[in-house]
Symmetry: C2
Subunit: 112 residues, 2 copies
Protein backbone atom coordinates (compact mmCIF):
# COMPACT_ATOMS: atom_id res chain seq x y z
CA UNK A 1 0.00 0.00 0.00
CA UNK A 2 1.22 3.47 -0.84
CA UNK A 3 0.27 6.52 1.26
CA UNK A 4 0.79 10.10 0.14
CA UNK A 5 -0.01 13.27 2.07
CA UNK A 6 -1.44 15.36 -0.76
CA UNK A 7 0.28 18.62 0.28
CA UNK A 8 3.67 16.84 -0.02
CA UNK A 9 3.04 15.77 -3.63
CA UNK A 10 4.83 18.17 -6.03
CA UNK A 11 2.48 20.62 -7.71
CA UNK A 12 2.47 20.93 -11.49
CA UNK A 13 0.91 23.30 -13.98
CA UNK A 14 -1.73 21.84 -16.31
CA UNK A 15 -0.59 21.75 -19.94
CA UNK A 16 -3.93 22.98 -21.33
CA UNK A 17 -3.43 26.37 -22.99
CA UNK A 18 -5.46 29.20 -21.48
CA UNK A 19 -5.54 27.68 -17.99
CA UNK A 20 -5.03 30.29 -15.25
CA UNK A 21 -4.55 30.03 -11.49
CA UNK A 22 -4.54 26.24 -11.47
CA UNK A 23 -2.22 23.57 -10.11
CA UNK A 24 -2.53 19.81 -10.10
CA UNK A 25 -0.93 16.98 -8.17
CA UNK A 26 -0.66 13.39 -9.42
CA UNK A 27 -1.72 11.44 -6.32
CA UNK A 28 -1.75 7.97 -7.90
CA UNK A 29 0.09 7.78 -11.23
CA UNK A 30 1.64 5.28 -13.63
CA UNK A 31 5.00 5.65 -11.86
CA UNK A 32 3.31 4.50 -8.63
CA UNK A 33 2.21 1.28 -10.35
CA UNK A 34 -1.27 2.35 -11.44
CA UNK A 35 -2.29 0.29 -14.44
CA UNK A 36 -5.77 1.42 -15.44
CA UNK A 37 -6.45 4.92 -14.17
CA UNK A 38 -4.76 7.81 -12.36
CA UNK A 39 -5.99 10.08 -9.56
CA UNK A 40 -5.14 13.78 -9.66
CA UNK A 41 -5.95 16.63 -7.26
CA UNK A 42 -6.69 20.02 -8.86
CA UNK A 43 -6.76 23.37 -7.12
CA UNK A 44 -8.22 26.41 -8.88
CA UNK A 45 -7.57 29.73 -7.17
CA UNK A 46 -10.15 32.54 -6.95
CA UNK A 47 -10.27 34.05 -10.46
CA UNK A 48 -8.81 30.83 -11.90
CA UNK A 49 -9.98 29.21 -15.14
CA UNK A 50 -9.74 25.90 -16.96
CA UNK A 51 -11.02 26.84 -20.43
CA UNK A 52 -13.64 24.87 -22.39
CA UNK A 53 -12.09 21.79 -23.96
CA UNK A 54 -12.81 18.11 -24.60
CA UNK A 55 -10.93 14.83 -25.05
CA UNK A 56 -11.90 12.39 -27.81
CA UNK A 57 -11.01 9.23 -25.91
CA UNK A 58 -10.78 10.18 -22.27
CA UNK A 59 -13.44 10.39 -19.57
CA UNK A 60 -13.16 12.20 -16.21
CA UNK A 61 -14.67 11.07 -12.93
CA UNK A 62 -14.62 14.10 -10.66
CA UNK A 63 -15.40 14.70 -6.99
CA UNK A 64 -15.44 18.21 -5.57
CA UNK A 65 -13.53 18.38 -2.29
CA UNK A 66 -13.89 22.04 -1.48
CA UNK A 67 -15.40 25.27 -2.74
CA UNK A 68 -17.72 26.24 -5.54
CA UNK A 69 -17.23 27.00 -9.25
CA UNK A 70 -19.05 27.47 -12.54
CA UNK A 71 -19.00 24.49 -14.88
CA UNK A 72 -19.31 25.45 -18.55
CA UNK A 73 -20.00 22.85 -21.26
CA UNK A 74 -19.66 25.44 -24.03
CA UNK A 75 -23.41 26.04 -24.14
CA UNK A 76 -24.70 26.10 -20.58
CA UNK A 77 -23.22 27.14 -17.27
CA UNK A 78 -24.08 25.53 -13.95
CA UNK A 79 -22.81 26.01 -10.43
CA UNK A 80 -21.05 23.04 -8.84
CA UNK A 81 -20.21 22.64 -5.19
CA UNK A 82 -18.33 20.64 -2.58
CA UNK A 83 -19.60 17.03 -2.43
CA UNK A 84 -20.83 17.00 -6.04
CA UNK A 85 -19.69 14.23 -8.38
CA UNK A 86 -19.34 14.83 -12.13
CA UNK A 87 -18.93 12.35 -14.94
CA UNK A 88 -17.47 13.93 -18.09
CA UNK A 89 -17.65 11.43 -20.95
CA UNK A 90 -15.25 11.34 -23.94
CA UNK A 91 -16.16 14.23 -26.26
CA UNK A 92 -18.05 16.18 -23.56
CA UNK A 93 -16.94 19.80 -23.46
CA UNK A 94 -15.98 21.01 -20.00
CA UNK A 95 -14.56 24.01 -18.17
CA UNK A 96 -14.29 25.33 -14.62
CA UNK A 97 -14.28 29.00 -13.60
CA UNK A 98 -13.70 29.95 -9.98
CA UNK A 99 -15.60 33.20 -9.42
CA UNK A 100 -15.65 32.71 -5.65
CA UNK A 101 -13.19 34.09 -3.10
CA UNK A 102 -11.99 30.65 -1.95
CA UNK A 103 -9.95 27.89 -3.61
CA UNK A 104 -11.91 25.28 -5.56
CA UNK A 105 -10.49 21.76 -5.18
CA UNK A 106 -11.44 18.57 -6.92
CA UNK A 107 -10.29 15.02 -7.53
CA UNK A 108 -10.19 14.02 -11.21
CA UNK A 109 -9.63 10.39 -12.25
CA UNK A 110 -8.54 9.68 -15.83
CA UNK A 111 -7.80 6.44 -17.69
CA UNK A 112 -4.16 5.51 -18.40
Amino acid sequence: MMLKHSHEVPEEKPSLQGTKGCILRWLVAKKDGARHYAMRLFELQPGGLIPVHSHDETEHEIYIIDGTATFDDGKNKIVVNKNDALFVQPGDKHSFINNSDKPFKFICVIPL
Copy 2:
Protein backbone atom coordinates in the same frame (compact mmCIF):
# COMPACT_ATOMS: atom_id res chain seq x y z
CA MET B 1 -21.97 15.48 -18.48
CA MET B 2 -23.64 13.95 -15.46
CA LEU B 3 -23.86 15.76 -12.12
CA LYS B 4 -24.82 14.08 -8.84
CA HIS B 5 -25.15 15.69 -5.44
CA SER B 6 -23.60 12.96 -3.33
CA HIS B 7 -26.14 13.16 -0.48
CA GLU B 8 -28.91 12.41 -3.01
CA VAL B 9 -27.26 9.19 -4.21
CA PRO B 10 -28.89 6.18 -2.50
CA GLU B 11 -26.78 4.69 0.26
CA GLU B 12 -25.97 0.99 0.24
CA LYS B 13 -24.40 -1.42 2.68
CA PRO B 14 -21.05 -2.95 1.67
CA SER B 15 -21.27 -6.69 1.01
CA LEU B 16 -18.03 -7.52 2.84
CA GLN B 17 -18.83 -9.67 5.86
CA GLY B 18 -17.83 -8.19 9.22
CA THR B 19 -18.24 -4.59 8.07
CA LYS B 20 -19.89 -2.38 10.72
CA GLY B 21 -21.17 1.20 10.70
CA CYS B 22 -20.41 1.73 7.00
CA ILE B 23 -22.37 2.93 4.00
CA LEU B 24 -21.30 3.52 0.42
CA ARG B 25 -22.68 5.45 -2.52
CA TRP B 26 -21.92 4.67 -6.16
CA LEU B 27 -21.23 8.15 -7.53
CA VAL B 28 -20.13 7.09 -11.02
CA ALA B 29 -21.06 3.51 -11.93
CA LYS B 30 -21.46 1.21 -14.93
CA LYS B 31 -25.13 2.19 -15.19
CA ASP B 32 -24.03 5.81 -15.63
CA GLY B 33 -21.93 4.82 -18.64
CA ALA B 34 -18.59 4.34 -16.88
CA ARG B 35 -16.49 1.91 -18.91
CA HIS B 36 -13.19 1.51 -17.10
CA TYR B 37 -13.57 2.41 -13.43
CA ALA B 38 -16.19 3.42 -10.87
CA MET B 39 -16.14 6.07 -8.15
CA ARG B 40 -17.69 5.31 -4.75
CA LEU B 41 -18.05 7.41 -1.60
CA PHE B 42 -17.68 5.56 1.70
CA GLU B 43 -18.70 6.79 5.12
CA LEU B 44 -17.52 4.98 8.24
CA GLN B 45 -19.22 6.04 11.46
CA PRO B 46 -17.40 6.38 14.81
CA GLY B 47 -16.80 2.81 15.97
CA GLY B 48 -17.18 1.56 12.39
CA LEU B 49 -15.00 -1.11 10.82
CA ILE B 50 -14.11 -2.49 7.40
CA PRO B 51 -12.28 -5.71 8.31
CA VAL B 52 -8.93 -6.81 6.84
CA HIS B 53 -9.42 -8.22 3.34
CA SER B 54 -7.83 -8.18 -0.11
CA HIS B 55 -8.83 -8.56 -3.76
CA ASP B 56 -6.77 -10.70 -6.12
CA GLU B 57 -7.42 -8.62 -9.23
CA THR B 58 -8.66 -5.26 -8.04
CA GLU B 59 -6.80 -2.13 -6.99
CA HIS B 60 -8.23 0.82 -5.02
CA GLU B 61 -7.31 4.46 -5.48
CA ILE B 62 -8.51 6.24 -2.35
CA TYR B 63 -8.74 9.87 -1.27
CA ILE B 64 -9.76 10.78 2.25
CA ILE B 65 -12.36 13.54 2.27
CA ASP B 66 -12.95 13.91 5.98
CA GLY B 67 -11.90 12.53 9.33
CA THR B 68 -9.25 10.18 10.57
CA ALA B 69 -9.01 6.40 10.85
CA THR B 70 -6.62 3.52 11.46
CA PHE B 71 -5.51 1.65 8.35
CA ASP B 72 -4.55 -1.98 9.04
CA ASP B 73 -2.72 -4.09 6.44
CA GLY B 74 -2.95 -7.22 8.62
CA LYS B 75 0.53 -6.63 10.07
CA ASN B 76 0.91 -2.92 10.74
CA LYS B 77 -1.49 -0.16 11.70
CA ILE B 78 -1.09 3.45 10.62
CA VAL B 79 -3.22 6.55 11.11
CA VAL B 80 -4.64 8.11 7.94
CA ASN B 81 -6.21 11.54 7.68
CA LYS B 82 -8.17 13.96 5.55
CA ASN B 83 -6.28 14.85 2.34
CA ASP B 84 -4.28 11.61 2.30
CA ALA B 85 -4.25 9.48 -0.86
CA LEU B 86 -3.84 5.69 -0.69
CA PHE B 87 -3.06 3.21 -3.43
CA VAL B 88 -4.04 -0.35 -2.51
CA GLN B 89 -2.71 -2.75 -5.14
CA PRO B 90 -4.28 -6.11 -6.03
CA GLY B 91 -3.47 -8.57 -3.24
CA ASP B 92 -2.69 -5.84 -0.66
CA LYS B 93 -4.52 -6.47 2.60
CA HIS B 94 -6.48 -3.46 3.85
CA SER B 95 -8.87 -2.39 6.59
CA PHE B 96 -10.21 0.82 8.11
CA ILE B 97 -11.19 1.28 11.75
CA ASN B 98 -12.78 4.55 12.85
CA ASN B 99 -11.78 5.03 16.49
CA SER B 100 -12.51 8.76 16.35
CA ASP B 101 -15.71 10.55 17.35
CA LYS B 102 -16.41 11.88 13.82
CA PRO B 103 -17.40 10.23 10.55
CA PHE B 104 -14.55 9.11 8.30
CA LYS B 105 -15.27 9.66 4.60
CA PHE B 106 -13.31 8.61 1.56
CA ILE B 107 -13.52 8.27 -2.19
CA CYS B 108 -12.58 4.81 -3.50
CA VAL B 109 -12.11 4.18 -7.23
CA ILE B 110 -12.17 0.58 -8.49
CA PRO B 111 -11.79 -0.95 -11.95
CA LEU B 112 -14.88 -2.24 -13.77
